[in-house]
Amino acid sequence: MIAESMYQELILEHYKHPQGRGLRDPFDAEVHHVNPTCGDEITLRVKVDEGKVLDVSYEGQGCSISQAAASVLHELATGSTVEESLGVVDEFTRLMQGRGQVEADEDVLGDAVAFAGVAKYPARVKCALLSWMAYKDAVVRSA
């Protein structure tokens, strides 16, 4: 069963128990991103103070991959520095766009390494990247 390499237990756990879900105040920037091919969408806010990410809050709808990716993003980014978190975003993007050929740096990615299997499904890569691209956009706007 190929699917099991995509739907890792960790992904399903995050999907069923999303971390940090819900839009919160205060925030410095809010963005809304849409995946037009499937209608998945996310509204995401960031609160940044002196280079530190104090909160990433979000609300959205979509498949398990897109929802779990947002939950993992929240856990990884909140409490880290903007610089560190953007490094994780870059590594995650590299992994997702690697068509399953890229060896992920687990030290950088942490739990996000569970999405490695998604990279083999071109149609689903956008699902995984939706919230992460929204985060990158929000951080840029908050500066």
């Binding site: 190929i2 699917a3 739907y7 399903l12 499937c38 991959i65 689903r124």
Partner: protein, 421 residues
């Protein structure tokens, strides 16, 4: 005698193995159908032994290619009972056929009053249309200042005809609706709408992309003015579609695309045009695709469209029963097996009552069971908005599908509910 096991042997892809040793359960024919050997061999044979340009090549191969291309037109004309072969226009797909007609309206070249459109005139479509029967009419409305109006859809997934007399009125120039919905499976009743269109002098077009492949369609019997359909959904190749239109209307319409073979004579400042259908077939057409479509029409005729319809009706009843037993599954479209085809779209919840996204449903069905369905809005976003859902999972059946495959789908859906439980 309709024998699904024999039919399946005609389609080589149905016996292939997917990676990981899964067998294929193809329930996505509404998206695009698979091809039988009869079509594949005809196209291969033409490419290998007879291929040349059509119409304009005056040598042996040109004559053979032209004959095969025009034979295909005869086959398609016979398939939909067109009164004249000249009423069959080859296009690249159903979308082009719909656009061809939409662009005839409001075109300053058109002298016939029936095609004159301006502010105050109305165009009528429905909420259950594929984007290809929405956007061309939106564009027409934008070009001309005409008003776009539409039939709404009932909760059961039928056209709401309550406001018919108001919706289709003296201002209506054309009514263009789908014959069989690509999402709901609903087969629309044409006659009451057509009767009203005739009463007010409006033209009527049918998007028959999902009906011509699945039931006997007789364009004369339908009585409408234009019918669009496509090759790849009726066991033919992609890249070839068909516009059927009444000869008298096709003659009155301006050309759509200009180019080679659609002309009679050309001067530097003006041209006269070839008679229909060639007036609408500018440039080298999809020759081998048209020939493949002719083979597809002959293949389906050989099996018998009444039998194809009966097989799919039985299968649809079986599928509605099987899916109806899955808790948390909601069919979007008619639940009764009356005036509906074998296209079944649905939403699915897990046993705790949470929605499972169609992308997740489709992924598990494919990866774990080799079941191919379509997920998303199926190019009918307004219809999904009407039902307040972003997407559905759609199983669409055809002549080669079996009750075993429906059983596999039902088992697969139970498994999906466990994974996302």
């Amino acid at each position: 005698m309709f024998d699904v096991d024999l039919i399946r042997k005609d389609f080589p892809v149905l016996s292939r193995e997917l990676p990981g040793g899964r067998s294929l359960v193809y329930l996505d024919s509404g998206n695009s159908s698979q091809k039988p050997n009869q079509v594949i061999d005809t196209m291969r044979d033409h490419l290998a032994h007879h291929y040349s340009n059509v119409g304009r090549a005056h040598h042996t191969l040109g004559a053979e290619s032209t004959a095969a291309y025009e034979d295909a037109r005869d086959a398609v004309a016979a398939f939909v009972k067109a009164p004249s072969r000249d009423e069959i226009v080859f296009t690249k797909n159903a979308s082009e056929a719909l656009n061809l007609v939409a662009y005839a309206f409001g075109n300053p070249i058109a002298t016939d009053a029936r095609f004159k459109v301006g502010p105050g005139d109305e165009i009528v479509i429905s909420e259950m249309e594929h984007h290809s029967n929405i956007v061309p009419w939106q564009l027409l409305a934008q070009r001309t200042g005409a008003t776009l109006r539409w039939f709404t859809v009932t909760d059961e997934g039928r056209l709401d005809l309550d406001g018919l007399d108001d919706l289709v009125n003296e201002r209506t120039k054309i009514v263009s609706i789908v014959h069989q919905s690509n999402v709901l499976g609903t087969v629309n009743s044409v006659s009451p709408i057509l009767a009203r269109a005739r009463e007010v002098g409006a033209l009527m077009m049918l998007d028959a992309s999902q009906s011509v492949p699945h039931m006997p369609v007789d364009v004369t019997e339908l009585g409408v003015d234009f019918v669009a359909f496509t090759g790849h959904k009726m066991v033919g190749p992609s890249g070839i579609g068909v516009l059927w239109g009444r000869r008298e209307l096709l003659d009155a319409m301006p050309p759509f695309l200009g180019g080679g073979e659609m002309i009679e004579a050309v001067w530097m400042d003006r041209s006269t045009y070839a008679p229909v259908p060639h007036k609408f077939e500018a440039g080298t057409p999809p020759i081998v695709e048209a020939i493949g479509l002719g083979a597809a029409a002959n293949y389906l005729t050989g099996i018998g469209m009444a039998d194809v319809k009966a097989h799919e009706k039985a299968l649809t009843g079986y599928a509605l029963d099987a899916l109806g037993e899955i808790p948390g599954l909601k069919v979007i479209g008619p639940r009764t097996n009356i005036a509906r085809g074998g296209t079944i779209s649905f939403t699915l919840k897990n046993l705790s009552g949470d929605d499972i996204h169609p992308h997740d449903v489709g992924q598990i069905l494919d990866d774990a069971f080799g079941i191919a369905v379509r997920v998303g809005h199926h190019c009918a976003r307004p219809l999904h908005l009407r039902f307040g859902i972003p997407a559905t999972t759609r199983a669409s059946l055809y002549l080669y599908n079996t009750t075993d495959e429906i059983d596999a789908l039902a088992r697969g859906l139970h498994h999906v509910q466990k994974v996302f439980g």
